[in-house]
Point group: C2
Chain length 179, copies 2
């Protein structure tokens, strides 16, 4: 529902109706509206973790470079799952500008994501210092958020977003290689 209508349009009564349960049960499970948002964040993070890392064990192993590209580009796919995830993530991020309640959870989730991408960058460029890897990972993930919002708001096509993301990976790796 958050992915479809946004955080600000979310009413616990409608959530209960959609789930076919009482509002009391929603409050019992989630405690309050913040609890719902927090669980949403956890849900989309678990799901993203799954669709960006699940691979068929029979497939040939990826090179570090391929793994980096795949991890980032799997967040830019026109599927129901990714569209929902990205819309909800963007909404939680945008609502945190006005509402401090989710800021810490968002910062923690972002940090985990940045560290994951930094580790992949480090596998491609093992001689680069950790601080440079972290900065490049922060940029790549922030760019991905920016491109996702442009895609979801109809500004660019998904294929073009992916092409721009690939270009950014090239530019960052060439920057790290020279550092």
């Amino acid at each position: 529902m958050i992915a479809r209508r946004g955080v600000r349009g979310l009413r616990v009564e409608e959530l209960a109706a959609e789930a076919g349960v009482s509002t009391a049960l929603i409050y019992y499970h989630f405690k309050d509206r913040t609890g719902v948002l927090r669980q949403t964040l956890e849900f989309i993070n678990d799901r993203a973790e799954r669709y960006t890392t699940d691979r068929d064990p029979d497939d040939p192993p990826l090179t570090p470079r391929e793994e980096l590209e795949e991890t980032l580009l799997l967040e830019l796919q026109d599927t129901v799952e990714v569209r929902e995830n990205s819309s909800a993530w963007g909404e939680l991020r945008a609502s945190a500008v006005f509402d401090e309640v989710l800021r810490e959870d968002l910062a923690r989730a972002t940090l985990v994501w940045v560290q994951e991408v930094a580790a992949l960058l480090g596998q491609v460029q093992p001689m680069v210092p950790a601080s440079a890897l972290a900065a490049a990972a922060e940029r790549l993930t922030a760019l991905l958020e920016g491109l996702s919002m442009r895609w979801l708001s109809g500004g660019i096509k998904i294929g073009h977003a992916r092409e721009l993301m690939r270009g950014a990976i090239d530019a960052e790796l060439s920057g790290l290689g020279q550092g």
Copy 2:
């Protein structure tokens, strides 16, 4: 008001109260809620144009590289004006995910911004084809949006956002130089 409370919290009645006029006058001027949003977009674009290009005519002229950096980094300042502008821009972008009404205006404003940055990149790297300049400009502006949202939502400090932006300009220019 949009920068303070978001697009979704906007009521024409409150807007009228804040301005100290009747709702009839608001409707007369803006026609409807969409008219208010459209004028907001125009207002923040005009203001950004001003604070990113206004320079003292007695200052020494900037090199193309300095002009590029300044144009982008002036959007990452902890001033009331930039904070308001970026919050409102982020809100219009985020609400366009759920509401199609502003998509065209946003796409047009984004294109103008991308072209401006592409032209500055072209002054730094005159031999690079236009398509590569445009792609780099799309990435730099989308990254700026992503970093702004992280800053406004309390995820990173403004100084760090600026440092990351500078790093991206370096990476993109080194990428274009090799192309």
